[in-house]
């Protein structure tokens, strides 16, 4: 049976906020330097072993020219959240269990701790993360089937598989809060000495907590806190709505059975911080993403910018048509 205490998840993939900022900043900086030097940020990936080669410099590129602007860290963050939400939509469409959805999102988050979205398009990485997650969680779906379901070439999924696995350091076992929620709800039944009516209310509590975790997966919390902490934060929030038990007394009960040096006040602070992150979450709409997506397209393929400029010049006297073309570009 898998054990969180001895897992790589606990040992290597839980960070402080500063660590996350440093890694995102480093990836963004590296991509920016690549853009300055080569005129593009797209990296070529060998599908057999995931090795990289830097792009060919654009024919008309002058080192240091500022024709194309890189994405900022904030824009990259919005893009990551947008595609993580897309992962949830795809998994819902395929009716995958929550565990697969969470595993795919965690793979996606870990991948983009190593890379910038300017280096590997998140639309492709997202699919490969879902594919790998299905294999790891013993719910295998072939790449052809996955590609067919979302109208994408299945070869894209396979080409990125090795680079994704290498970027995760092959640490494929991850822990999502969903099973922890099951455990805590079972424990709460004993805590409440629940009868039949209480049992039904606890099931409602569980469902609301699961919905809360779905939102939680889109924040940075899964990289900062353990699954048990995330589960308790979700149950805390859910209990605020359902008012089933005195959560403070329940936490004291939990702590009295643990041998921990962590004071309960500090733990409550962590729970409140997790719930704060969820409240602060804003999922970008496709409209919000349009500008960032065009910017990313130019970073990956600078020639598309010149073509876009030509289109604009031709139609600058017909503003409505220009607006339509801008929408079509999205």
């Amino acid at each position: 049976m898998a054990d969180f205490r001895t897992s790589t998840h606990r040992e290597r993939w839980i960070f402080q906020t500063n660590d996350l900022m440093d890694r995102w900043g480093a990836a963004n900086q590296r991509a920016t330097e690549t853009l300055v030097q080569y005129g593009t940020t797209r990296l070529k990936v060998d599908p057999v072993d995931g090795s990289l080669s830097y792009p060919e410099p654009a024919p008309d590129h002058v080192v240091g020219s500022s024709g194309v602007k890189p994405l900022s860290c904030e824009e990259e963050r919005l893009m990551r959240v947008f595609y993580e939400q897309k992962i949830q939509e795809v998994c819902s469409a395929f009716k995958f269990p929550h565990k697969i959805q969470a595993t795919a999102i965690i793979y996606f988050k870990r991948f983009y701790l190593q890379w910038s979205v300017m280096e590997h398009h998140p639309k492709h990485i997202m699919l490969t993360c879902i594919y790998s997650s299905c294999k790891v969680e013993e719910n295998h779906v072939s790449a052809e089937e996955l590609g067919k379901g979302i109208q994408q070439d299945h070869q894209i999924i396979l080409n990125n598989e090795m680079i994704v696995l290498k970027s995760l350091d092959f640490d494929l076992i991850v822990y999502a809060p969903y099973r922890s929620i099951e455990g805590f709800v079972d424990d709460m039944e004993d805590f409440c000495r629940a009868g039949n009516g209480e049992h039904q209310r606890l099931q409602d509590l569980r469902q609301t907590a699961i919905s809360q975790v779905d939102k939680m997966m889109l924040t940075d919390a899964p990289l900062l806190y353990t699954p048990g902490q995330l589960a308790l934060a979700a149950l805390h929030k859910s209990n605020d709505m359902h008012k089933i038990l005195n959560f403070e007394r329940y936490l004291e009960s939990v702590f009295s059975r643990q041998h921990s040096d962590c004071p309960i006040e500090q733990f409550v602070g962590s729970i409140n911080m997790i719930n704060y992150l969820v409240e602060q979450l804003k999922i970008p709409t496709p409209k919000d993403m349009r500008h960032i997506d065009r910017k990313l397209k130019h970073c990956l393929d600078p020639s598309s910018q010149d073509e876009h400029k030509k289109k604009e010049k031709k139609s600058k006297h017909k503003s409505k048509r220009a607006a339509n073309e801008a929408q079509l570009d999205s």
């Binding site: 839980i14 790449a143 396979l158 822990y175 922890s180 353990t226 699954p227 048990g228 902490q229």
Partner: protein
Amino acid sequence: MVVVSSGGGGGGNAWAKEMTIRRRMASIFNKTQDHFSCLKDYNDYLEEVEDMTFNLIEGIDVEEIEAKIARYQQENAEQIYLSRAKRAEDLAAALKASRMNPGKAAASDTAAGSSQGISSSAGVQGQYAPAAVGMSQPRPTGMAPQPIGGSSDPLQGDDEETMRLRAERGARAGGWTIEMGKRRALEEAFSSIFI
């Protein structure tokens, strides 16, 4: 990483081609161990046939091998014909024996129903009569004897309760109980509260 060498159709075609070649070779080179004086000669014969088959499948020395096959076919025409005839007879005998079995099984059931030891024993022995008569190589009859008392198995039947019981016992046979799921959930919950 899956390296796709060709489309699924190609794979299917390759398989069909191989089976066609193998069936053709088996119908021509149909000697059995009885045709050889010692095991080594028989094994050498089998190896040579497999080499030729493999080369045909891979497209190696095809003309030379086809000539060899034609020559062998000419020289051993009578033996090939006789072996095919014997195989056909064996197959017919096996089918006939298999077709006779339902009656035997029914008789066996009747005997079992009567609970007379001697009759039951006779019925069971009777099932193997075809194998004892005139066949040098007995073949499976394709139908297992009916278990005595099979109708009293509590897990037989298609109703919902029986299917649920069967699934539950199947899981338990594999070592799983619902308590294991709960225990795992509790362990993961409490072991991951702290870093």
